[in-house]
């Protein structure tokens, strides 16, 4: 059974009815890394939000099966507990909630959902410190309110730290490379690569081939005007970098 199966997914923006996804089909198996590339406005971020359960979008047709179960009726928290993780393109700032408090609440909620006991604080601290070190996140950052005053790179590193801590089975990375300098890109990529495993799949959404030098995908898709218009191997990304999306924009329209 595939880990994720998206079948003929159509969505529109709830507020104004604008159609974004117009029949996306995608199958992701455990252990695979898929890259989704595409021009601005093709629906990449929408796809990530719809997978995570953001309420601003309406699914008009199709289904999304995660571990064989239709998740479209599930809330974002239930999806996360089922093993879904979205690394946000723009991580949200939450003043008043310390990063460490947030991490603890998230981890313990997920443990509870899996029938495990809450992690005792010393064990939790040890775990977080260890994972934070790998992501170059200082204990000072952990004490600060979540994402408040974090640089672009710090926000993205914090997203990957959360991913490492929560150990999801499907990681959706939405333009994780945007706003990163070369060094930060390496730290983030290493963090992501460390999480690659036969049980876990990843969907990496990006504009640029650059990220895919670091996180090498098994399969590359081109999303254009709300549909996947081309699927290939890692070479497809190189071709796109050279020729741009011009060839595919026409195809979808």
């Amino acid at each position: 059974m595939a880990l994720l199966e998206i079948k003929n997914l159509h969505t529109r923006i709830a507020e104004d009815g604008t159609e974004i996804l117009r029949g996306v089909d995608l199958t992701v198996n455990a252990g695979e890394v898929h890259a989704i590339m595409g021009p601005n406005g093709s629906g990449k971020s929408t796809l990530s939000y719809v997978l995570a359960g953001k309420e601003n979008y309406e699914v008009t047709e199709g289904e999304v099966l995660f571990n064989g179960e239709n998740i479209l009726e599930m809330g974002p928290d239930e999806r996360a507990m089922a093993g879904m993780f979205l690394a946000f393109q723009y991580p949200i700032e939450i003043p008043g909630v310390a990063t460490i408090t947030f991490l603890k609440a998230a981890l313990n909620s997920q443990r509870k959902a899996r029938g495990l006991d809450e992690l005792p604080t010393p064990d939790f601290m040890k775990l977080v410190r260890e994972k934070a070190k790998q992501m170059n996140i200082t204990s000072d950052m952990l004490k600060r309110p979540l994402n408040v005053g974090f640089s672009g790179g710090e926000k993205k590193r914090s997203e990957i730290l959360q991913m490492a801590l929560l150990e999801p089975t499907l990681c959706v990375l939405d333009e994780t490379d945007s706003g990163l300098d070369i060094d930060a890109l390496k730290v983030v990529s290493n963090g992501v690569n460390a999480l690659r495993s036969p049980e876990r799949a990843m969907i990496v959404i990006t504009h640029y081939q650059r990220l895919l030098d670091h996180i090498v995908p098994d399969i590359v898709h081109v999303l254009s005007a709300g549909k996947i218009v081309k699927t290939g191997g890692p070479d497809l990304a190189l071709e796109l970098e050279k020729n741009g999306y011009a060839d595919y924009i026409g195809e979808a329209a």
Binding site: G53, P76, A80, F88, I92, V97, Q110, L166
Partner: protein
């Protein structure tokens, strides 16, 4: 004496007058009481035509005068106090009032150097306590008049000059459950350069009425922090008046946490009487269902070079109504005054109401005064982010409400107090 009862249009008002006449105590402050009841007789209960009470119409809200409360049996009093969680065991001294009356066997008032606590009732039997009525004389207010007319007991607290009282002094008020009215009056005087923290707690069961007033003065260089926790029963009425006067170079940090009572009004009057003083008046209210909560602050900058901050955070759910009134008066010659007030409200339902009335009256020309207000709902994007990490919706909302309040609560600094208040917030949210 033929009384002019024309201002008294409701049954509650007439009943209050009858109660007063029936009680007719002959103690040391008889004259003060007579004057207060005459004031009440001429004005009646505050109503919407009284500007200061515009958003809290007590004439409509208070439709009965409950009998004056009596002390319950010792075991019952102890049981009532035992169920109340103040700030745990952190208090150094503790004076307990059950149904508005001093309960010596449940209190611990001696043994702290530099601190003197006496019962008002015991003193009143003999003489007029020093300071009683001094600050009250400057205010025309019916809630305060009723307190003066009916005051039964209270704490007379003196902190000696230079004393540093390490642990908080707790003033605990517990209503034991009878439908009755309590009137407590405290006089708190902090000496020169003294340092002290007070925690003032209200709690109870069932249907009752609390009317409490405090006259508080701080001498030069005193550092006082004060936390008031109003956690009355949801059927109770809570009226409280704090009259405070600060001498020069005083630091005063006041925090009010309102979550109880069907109807509450917490009014604070603060007067700067010496230069170089600073006061922070922060408050948090958490209300739901049909609760009505009024926080009113009046700051008088009577001298130059003082700084005041008023910061009110409100979390309102159900069909509750919050009121925040802040007034800053800058007297002529009170130059270099720095006064600011901010009100921020978080609405958890669509049927809530919040009234915000800022007033700045400035008669000096070299001052800084400002006010601002915001209100909003829980940000859906924040909620989505938390839920996308597996935090269930109810818990995510709790985290966001705590985050909203953290700015006023964490300023308190004392970790145990912060934790207690956060715990209360979680309980209030049903989490």
């Amino acid at each position: 004496m033929t009384a002019d009862n024309t201002a008294l249009s409701t049954a509650a008002e007439r009943a209050l007058i009858e109660q007063y006449e029936a009680a007719s105590t002959g103690d040391a402050v008889k004259l003060m009481r007579e004057k207060a009841i005459a004031g009440f007789r001429s004005r009646g209960l505050p109503n919407r035509r009284v500007e200061e009470w515009k958003y809290t119409d007590l004439r409509r809200g208070m439709n009965e005068a409950l009998p004056i409360a009596e002390m319950p049996a010792a075991a019952e009093a102890k049981a009532a106090v035992d169920t109340v969680a103040g700030f745990g065991d952190m208090a150094g001294a503790r004076i307990v009032f059950v149904n508005g009356l001093y309960a010596p066997e449940l209190s611990e008032i001696s043994g702290v150097e530099g601190l003197t606590i006496r019962s008002l009732a015991a003193t009143l039997a003999k003489s007029r306590p020093q300071g009683l009525g001094e600050l009250a004389a400057s205010l025309t207010d019916s809630a305060l008049d009723l307190n003066t007319a009916f005051m039964r007991d209270g704490a007379l607290i003196d902190v000696a000059a230079g004393a540093e009282i390490e642990k908080p002094v707790e003033i605990l008020h517990v209503a034991a459950g009878e439908p009755a009215a309590t009137y407590t009056r405290h006089v708190v005087r902090v000496g020169e350069g003294a340092k002290v923290c007070f925690s003032e707690v209200y709690s109870g069961k069932g249907h009752y009425q609390t009317n409490t007033a405090i006259e508080f003065s701080a001498a030069k260089g005193a550092e006082v922090s004060w936390i008031k926790l109003q956690n009355e029963s949801r059927e109770a009425q809570h009226l409280s008046t704090l009259l405070s006067r600060l001498d020069g170079e005083v630091g005063f940090d006041h925090f009010i946490f309102n979550s109880g009572a069907h109807l509450s009004r917490t009014q604070t009057f603060l007067r700067f009487d010496g230069e170089g003083s600073r006061a922070e008046l922060r408050s948090a209210m958490l209300i739901t269902e049909e609760q009505h909560c009024d926080v009113t602050l009046v700051v008088d900058h009577a001298v130059p070079n003082c700084e005041s901050r008023e910061f009110c955070k409100s979390v309102i759910d159900g069909a509750a109504k919050g009121v925040f009134q802040g007034r800053i008066n800058v007297f002529p010659h009170a130059q270099k005054t720095d006064g600011r007030m901010v009100s921020q409200a978080l609405f958890l339902s669509e049927s809530v109401e919040m009234a915000y009335k800022p007033e700045l009256e400035i008669f000096a020309d070299d001052v800084q005064c400002a006010h601002g207000a915001t209100s909003g709902q829980i940000d859906e994007d924040l909620l989505f982010y938390l839920r996308a990490r597996g935090i269930p919706e109810a818990e995510a909302r709790t985290l966001l409400v705590l985050a909203f309040l953290s700015e006023v609560i964490e300023e308190i600094g004392d970790e145990q107090v912060v934790e207690t208040l956060e715990e209360r917030t979680r309980t209030w949210l049903g989490y």
